[in-house]
């Protein structure tokens, strides 16, 4: 992979739309295939959001950021979360600073100095020196805390200003929208709704049954679920690997997984199967698990019956 493609600077320029068509294609091809580069790109996006929220981007970069990274409701929600993260950090830090400030020297220390037999003159000199050093240290610390507090207040004011700017722009745009709607006599629209980027995963824990005729568990699966994790307890975990075949109740094969390994959990050994939710319709299924014996032949290791209800 081209080293330059992996640099944060290039990825930042990609996100801001500042790169050539060729570079852009190369980056896109790479991150579709390379998970590490994709994660790096998301981290660069987080940093850009953070810099925007703190007002640390140049005017040009701010404009490009707003065009490229605030175009969809999902991206604007991400910015809002960054603002809350920063504000929450400030609050946490302020609380931590206050709690540090309140910490006083412990009496056990004084006991350790004066509680044992010492020469009174030496103890007095030591006490004086200690008092002097403590006072100076407290004074310096106080000054630092004041400076830190002032800096945070300035940052907070800047943040509030950013929020006011954003709200003012929002009001302008809403006014403009409302005028346009009046002009065209169109009713107001519902806000856009968008689901999350991260795949939605449903985990279903199957009970072990002995025969294919048994009635199994029933699970309701929402339409928004992308992947289903089936967790199956194993009655027999002596095999090195397993195969699993998902069948419809009438015996038609739906999905097969090979080379599966048993996992030790608090409830005993289990298999974890990842199945795209698209494949599961609202009906009854049987999951047939086979253990691969030393002679490489599959042996029955469990049947699981369950029903999927779609809503």
């Amino acid at each position: 992979m081209d080293k330059d493609i992996q640099s944060d600077e290039t990825l930042k320029r990609y996100l801001l739309g500042q790169i050539s068509h060729e570079e852009r294609e190369q980056i896109e091809r790479e991150y579709l295939a390379n998970k590490d580069l994709f994660d790096q790109l998301l981290a660069v996006e987080d940093d850009l959001m953070d810099e925007y929220a703190r007002g640390q981007l140049s005017v040009g970069e701010r404009n490009q950021f707003e065009v490229a990274l605030l175009a969809t409701p999902r991206q604007r929600e991400k910015l809002r979360e960054t603002l809350y993260l920063n504000e929450s950090m400030r609050r946490q830090k302020l609380a931590a600073t206050r709690s540090q400030k309140r910490t006083a020297p412990r009496t056990s220390f004084w006991v350790s100095v004066f509680g044992i037999k010492r020469t009174p003159g030496l103890a007095a000199v030591f006490a004086f020196l200690l008092l002097f050093v403590s006072t100076a240290s407290l004074f310096i610390r106080e000054r630092r805390l004041d400076a830190e507090l002032q800096r945070m207040q300035v940052e907070r004011a800047q943040m509030q200003q950013n929020q006011r700017d954003l709200q003012s722009r929002l009001q302008d745009q809403q006014k403009e929208k409302s005028e346009l709607q009046q002009l065209h006599n169109i009713p107001p629209t519902e806000p856009l709704k968008e689901s999350t980027t991260t795949p939605t995963i449903a985990t279903l824990v199957l009970p072990l049954i002995s025969t294919r005729g048994d009635e199994g568990a029933s699970f309701t699966l929402k339409g928004s679920v992308d992947m289903v994790h089936l967790q199956t307890p194993l009655a027999n975990d002596e095999y090195n690997s397993y195969e699993a075949e998902l069948q419809s109740a009438d015996g038609v094969s739906v999905y097969k997984l090979t080379n599966l390994r048993a996992r030790k959990t608090a409830r005993g050994s289990t298999l974890l199967l990842r199945i795209p939710a698209k494949l599961l319709k609202g009906r009854n299924y049987v999951l047939k698990v086979s253990g691969i014996a030393a002679n490489r032949l599959p042996e029955d290791a469990g049947f699981y019956s369950f029903q999927i209800v779609r809503n």
Binding site: A43, R74, L79, L166, R169, E190, T197, N259, R274
Partner: protein, 199 residues
């Protein structure tokens, strides 16, 4: 907004989906992981192009790639092919989106929810809860990672990476994953507290 979408005249079948998985990786477990990555990265690809229906577009792209494989088409490099398809889907979707916005007088605003101030306490409450749900080491890392302004922030991060004995890039990805966890927790919290308000 009316829910217009790209025209679909083909539906992904089990057989075509299996062919797609085979093309991603001969091992089913790894193929499923690759599928998840492909879908997730395509979704962000459409986001970064300013397209609202990013997940739907990602699914449409995957369907078209699967259809090509199902019809016996030869695909030498699947990700390059998927990118070509994604580009076409993006163009089609952009045209549709522009038509929607023009016809409805829609102009994208910077903040989608006008009740921001009313929501503030609820959001801070959720945020504090979500931070508290992180493991202490993760919470410390994310707080330290975003501490300071531009210069001190860079120095802080280098110090954190040195202390953890990892390259700075690795640290950033760790911080991003914690952010994702926070984001997901926030979404769940806001959705559930919204339901509470409604009931």
């Amino acid at each position: 907004m009316r829910n217009r979408s790209l025209k679909r005249d083909w539906v992904l079948t089990e057989d075509s989906f299996n062919k797609l998985l085979d093309a991603l990786d001969p091992d089913r477990q790894r193929a499923a992981e690759q599928y998840e990555h492909l879908r997730r990265s395509l979704t962000r690809y459409f986001d970064w192009r300013g397209l609202i229906q990013s997940e739907r577009n990602a699914d449409e792209t995957i369907d078209r790639v699967a259809r090509k494989l199902s019809d016996g088409g030869v695909v030498d490099e699947l990700h390059t092919y998927a990118l070509g398809v994604a580009r076409n889907v993006a163009l089609e979707s952009l045209r549709l989106q522009q038509k929607e916005q023009v016809s409805l007088g829609f102009s994208p605003s910077l903040i989608s929810d006008p009740r921001e101030d009313e929501d503030q306490d609820r959001r801070f409450g959720c945020f504090e809860n979500c931070l508290a749900q992180l493991q202490p080491a993760q919470r410390d890392l994310i707080l330290a990672y975003y501490e300071g302004d531009k210069r001190t922030k860079i120095a802080n991060r280098q110090k954190l990476a040195d202390e953890a004995g990892m390259p700075i890039g690795r640290l950033r990805i760790q911080a991003h994953r914690i952010r994702e966890r926070l984001d997901n927790c926030m979404k769940r919290c806001l959705a559930s507290s919204g339901e509470d308000d409604a009931s």
